[in-house]
Amino acid sequence: MAVAVTMARMKIAVLRHSLTGQHGGMVIAGGSLGAVLATGTIFLAFLDGDWLTAAYAVWMLGWIIGPVFSGGGDESLRPEFFAMLGLPAHRLAVGLLASAFVGVAPAVSLLALSGLVVAGARQGVLGALVAVPAMVLQLAAFVLLSRVAVAVLGMALRSRVGAVGAAVVNGAILAFLGQGWVFAVALGQGSGIPEFVRYLPSGWGLLAVRGDYLALVALAVLVGLLLAAWAALLARRAGTTRPSTRGRRPMRARSAQDAVMAKELRAWTRDLVRTHQLTFALAYGLFFASAPLVLGWPGMLPWAGPIFIVMAAAMTANQYGDEGTALWLTVMTPGVSDVRGRQLAWLVAVAPVALVVTVALTAVNGGPWPIICAVTLALLGGGAGLVPLMSVYGLVPGIDPARRGGNPLRTSEDDGSLTGLAYLMLVLVAATAAPAAVVAWMFGWLGVPVGALTGALCYWGLGLLAGRRLTAQGPELLHMMRTGRRPETKSTFQALDMPKGAQTVTYLCWGLAMIPLFPQGIVASVFLVNGMYEHSWFLATYMAPGLRWPTAVGMIVIGLALLGTGWGLMRRYRQKEVTA
């Protein structure tokens, strides 16, 4: 017990420090958002039916996916720190588990789980009493599921097969979340919640509260099993990556730019984190575009390639940051275009796969060739231009690869900014295809040369800007990488000077705003105006005649509200900066 108490107290100390300064903003913003969601969940406990069960399923999914997607979750106390203490694995696991309960996310989840007490009280006194242990066990199950998921993924990322497998699973889960309504429509036009949700581990607490006491026992057993699994995984994690013994092909580059490209291509093939990034992007694109097949609509298939390109750019947008202080070599060899070599290598890594997927799936769907070709070309150039540009302008300091802990997903101490950068990239890269898409939409094949032109311009121009910035600000970027902090000189990129929390919320808002606003809102309205009610990717086309317009308009409102929230936050901090 002493170990558990000590670790919990260490975590409290870490948390107390994190509440001061810039980081505090993030904790508070995240906590407030979580509290709102938790309150909403409690409200569901007053309703009949399976709404609460469904909400807890979403909370569980959040616990599992959140850390996996944002780079390993909370790692303020790492198993490596205690490696020399000689603790038995299960005591270490119990200690770390105790510390894992200290934090904003567990507190918020506990609040949400107090809906169990409400649900129990509606059954009677006994129900309310059962709800208390059910709450605690349910939270323990969430926290442990999250830890085990991260540990399994970390283990998987030590081998190529594992990295690819983990990426495919992650891509599939995230794509299906993004296309959730497709499945909702498929499962009975969005009304009922499928029965199996009730029997997921997230629903066991509620089952117990409603009188099925065996579920409480099952929950306790699950917690025990997960704890054992986690302890076993922790014991294996202590070792570092095994040395590679594969044959190496000699480097045949003859010029400086070829050398940069050769180095980058080796990084693409040898670094499992990068393998994971690219495979994830591909899996996401394929699953996202094929999800509407569930409704019998293949029209999205050709978009798998473009989605892959956009996602690949978003995942790899922190290239310089991911390499840590290796930037010093670039700073010491001025006059070499590091950026151009990276751009070429990025294209070599992404373009062939993207083109094959795009051509194959467009052929399967039988078109529309002009717009797909135009957008693909524009996105390839846009991505190759924006990746280096964003990675120098929005650089998120990374941990030097040699110093990363046992969790290979964790490439930076600053997950919030990394996520923000990824969202921003999604929007920006997609925007580079807008001119080509519009021209192709209106004039057909004319869009293809436009796409090629804007792609080439982005590649050339944005690469040039990135190179200039790297030359001018190289030492500052390197300093940021060494200290993990931004330098005191004013950045030209104002949005990123906001406190981390506000920044994350802003990017989240912007990222989430895009799907309701553009496709589900504006494009759907265009469809409705033209009387195109055929079922396609747009929710409005699936609604009853009277609900089509309200759906499209509602989507636009949601999108605008999210954009407005992000914008308002940014303005608030700009003004504060002026007055400060």
């Binding site: 990556t241 040395p243 590679s244 013994t245 594969r246 044959g247 190496r248 480097m251 580059a253 003859r254 010029s255 400086a256 070829d258 050398a259 940069v260 050769a262 180095k263 080796r266 990084a267 040898r270 670094d271 390499e323 840590g324 202080t325 290796a326 010093w328 070599l329 700073v331 010491m332 060899t333 001025p334 006059g335 070499v336 030097d400 690869p401 040699a402 030492p475 500052e476 390197l478 300093h479 060494r482 200290t483 005191e488």
Partner: protein, 245 residues
Amino acid sequence: MKIDGLSKTFGEKKAVDEVSLTVPQGSFYGLVGQNGAGKTTALSMAVGLLRPDRGSAQIFGIDVWADAARAKQLVGVLPDAMAMPERLTGREVLTYLGLLRGLSPQVVAERAAELLAVLELDTAEKTLVIEYSTGMRKKIGLATALLHAPRLLVLDEPFEAVDPVSAATIKGILRGFVSGGGSIVLSSHVMALVEQLCDHVGVIDAGRVAAAGPLAEVRGAGSLEDRFVELVGSGSATAKGLSWL
């Protein structure tokens, strides 16, 4: 190398405060100081890795910050604890950097082979840098510093974590470099090492130069260690003991 009035403030802390040093051509210059005294910061500013708040740095008369491209060709740097292109093997790192430095592929291949052999890194031909030990990382770092035949070497803690046999090899290489007309600046905590290798020494304490000049002048009659403790003034270093041992 000549640095003049270099200053750098991080937040409230003055890391380097008006540091001026002149490293005569052909000298072997040792920079000593306690942990956190500002050695790494000063050297980073001197070679163009960290922009100073004030002051200037010149390498063979070329301003490091005004004409970075020319100045950086003349210097080889081994920074302390910086990442490398981690997914390359030692030979690939050298090939890559040689080409970046504008050397011809043939020259790069010859020099890389020689450096790897002399530094005994050629036995780990298939090992990626990320799998290197701390000592091996120092050695590959030194190899990158020497690769383009610079006239000045700036080495931050080059002997840290290097085994004695390799250290002897490296000392041999460095002595040869100086006798061939090159200049070296190295930082270290190890006074004996500086006394053994260097002919000039600078003592940095709390971001300022406490003493600088030819070794014999700075050292005076006693050992460099005694003189150093006297200069940085923590006083009774030997008197402090641990109560439970």
